[in-house]
């Protein structure tokens, strides 16, 4: 209780001091054994991760996976049941105020004060961040410019479109030039043009800052993030760059072939003898070619089956209409990782 009223004079390292901290090898965000229970429901279950300075990390997962809870803990809005969150080498729970000064958080629903004018709202946030003249004007101009808010400065927030509200939310996050940005579904509810705009903005910001964003749109994470963490049932089930995640699963890619003038049972019994193939299934046949069959062949591990399958086809003199290697898309990876059996 007392600590609530008396807070220390912690200062977030800036400039050279920040570089020094990074040189010493501290991660920007270091999460260890993070667990959060709501009564007896476990929302986040022993999560560990490190995020380096300058990374754009996408937190992916189905609804209710624990994304928002994780982000809320990182912002200090929720207290974890157990586990620690360190920003550089500083415990978030011990220095909440100092860390909040260098952190920008945009909640999913962008709960802005509807009755305020855009200008008043930005000024309010800026003064709460302790900005004083002349930086105050500079920072406000900068945030307004980056987010393209100039034309709506004197409108009440309730009159803004969803896209402008989202931009205002981003401007409010950027106004104090934070080191860490935490964005909870920053593109939800926007039209495709606005989504592209916001993504571009995030990419731009992410050149210098550490950004964590949550989303359940995979293409978005692929387009914006350097790194993706897939979260499911409160735990991290995959972590890596979009490419590395794809590669991991590519090994289990499958081969689709379409043959003419062949019987499925015959083809199946013949191909099954080829080493490296462990499963063959029938796919729906193409309607316009009556005498054809389509198959999906799955191999073991990362064996390339194309050559051996082609050799078999040549030997049996089937007519090959189509052969394609099916690459796992992020969607499939996501589905595999997050679907209940």
């Amino acid at each position: 209780m007392l600590s609530y009223f008396l807070t220390g004079n912690f200062k977030f390292p800036d400039g050279n001091l920040l570089d020094e901290c990074i040189e010493k090898g501290f991660s920007m965000i270091n999460v260890q054994g993070l667990t959060k229970y709501f009564h007896d429901f476990c929302a986040v279950d022993h999560v560990d991760f490190h995020i380096q300075q300058g990374e754009i990390v996408g937190l992916l997962g189905p609804n209710g996976a624990g994304k928002t809870t994780t982000l809320r803990i990182l912002t200090g809005y929720l207290k974890p049941t157990s586990g620690s969150v360190k920003i550089l080498d500083f415990d978030l729970m011990a220095n909440p105020l100092g860390i909040k000064k260098r952190l920008g958080y945009l909640p999913e629903s962008i709960p802005l004060y509807k009755t305020m004018l855009v200008y008043d709202f930005l000024l309010y946030v800026a003064t709460i961040h302790g900005l004083v003249q002349p930086q105050l004007t500079d920072r406000m101009n900068e945030a307004v410019k980056v987010c393209g808010l100039r034309s709506v400065m004197h409108k009440p927030i309730s009159e803004l479109s969803k896209g402008f509200q989202q931009r205002l939310g981003l401007a409010h996050v950027l106004i104090h030039d934070p080191e860490i940005l935490i964005l909870d579904e920053p593109t939800s509810g926007l039209d495709p043009n606005q989504i592209l705009e916001i993504r571009g903005l995030i990419r731009e910001i992410g050149k210098k800052k550490t950004v964590i964003l949550s989303t359940h749109i995979l293409s978005e994470a692929e387009a914006t993030c350097d790194r993706m963490m897939i979260i499911h049932n409160g735990g991290i089930v995959a972590d890596g760059t979009p490419d590395s995640l794809k590669y991991q699963i590519d090994k289990q890619g499958s081969l689709n072939i379409t043959l003419e003038k062949a019987q499925f049972s015959e083809v199946k019994s013949y191909l099954e003898n080829i080493p490296g193939i462990y499963e063959i299934e029938k796919l729906p046949t193409e309607q316009n070619i009556p005498d054809s069959i389509s198959l999906r062949i799955k191999g073991i591990g990362d064996v390339d089956m194309r050559r051996s399958v082609y050799a078999a086809i040549k030997e049996k003199d089937w007519t090959l209409l189509e052969m394609s290697l099916e690459k796992q898309s992020l969607e499939n990876i996501f589905k595999d990782l997050t679907q209940e059996n």
């Binding site: 609530y4 909040k100 709960p111 004060y113 305020m116 309010y124």
Partner: protein
């Protein structure tokens, strides 16, 4: 300090951007004006006693109407999440919001200064009790603001916050009028707990530290409990 000021400024302005403050002030002036002046000429006395006698009761529903939105609305709209993730202490939020509603209480009392001015024009007004009455009104308004803020922190529903706040303020105002039902042994204790009793003391023109201490502790308890409920939300 500057964060308290920013929060105070935002909240105070919000009262006047939305029609809340105007409505509440209008209703307050209508009610007090009517009850005061309807019997004023019958009594034929140059005093504001009737006005101040009624004040605890009018404040009991006027002030919770002002304070009900302070936190409940933020919880309801989710803007509390935005506020608390800014670098502000919970204490500053509470004090800023408290001062905002207290400022509206002051703004509400200023037009009533017309009453003593009119009365002093009509007759020989004793200014002592009037000044005492206004000082008492400030203390009373402060205490009720703190209690209203507390009830606003307990729920995300503004109506519930209002009703709860009114009930608490009414109970405190009426406590010293219900003393007939109270056993003699605890009579003094119960009387001391009533806000009406302390207010009337000050309104007589006597500034006693006991009364001032009572109101200050009421404000402190209200704000402290608010900070506890806010913390428990984390």
């Amino acid at each position: 300090m500057s964060t308290i000021l920013s929060i105070w400024h935002r909240e105070f302005k919000d009262y006047f951007v939305t029609p809340i403050a105007y409505l509440v002030i209008a209703i307050f002036l209508l009610v007090t004006g009517w009850f005061f002046f309807s019997t004023f000429f019958l009594k034929n006395q140059a005093s504001l006693r009737d006005f101040f006698n009624l004040l605890p009761l009018t404040f009991s529903f006027v002030i919770p109407a002002l304070t009900m939105r302070l936190l409940a609305e933020e919880f309801q709209q989710g803007s509390y999440e935005l506020l608390i993730t800014l670098p502000v202490k919970g204490r500053d939020i509470i004090i800023g919001k408290f001062l905002a509603s207290f400022s509206v209480v002051v703004a509400l009392l200023i037009p009533t200064l017309v009453y003593p001015l009119t009365v002093s024009y009509l007759g020989n007004l004793d200014w002592g009790p009037v000044i005492g009455g206004y000082i008492g009104a400030l203390f009373l308004g402060g205490s009720f603001s703190a209690l209203g803020l507390l009830t606003s922190s307990l729920t995300r529903n503004q109506i519930i916050a209002f009703i709860l706040g009114s009930v608490i303020c009414f109970a405190l105002s009426l406590l010293d009028k219900m003393l007939v039902f109270i056993p003699h042994s605890i009579l003094e204790v119960v009387q001391y707990l009533g806000a009406g009793y302390h207010f009337q003391n000050i309104a007589k023109g006597i500034l006693d530290t006991r009364d001032i201490l009572y109101f200050l502790s009421l404000i402190f308890i209200g704000l402290y409990l608010t900070s506890l409920t806010i913390q428990s939300r984390e």
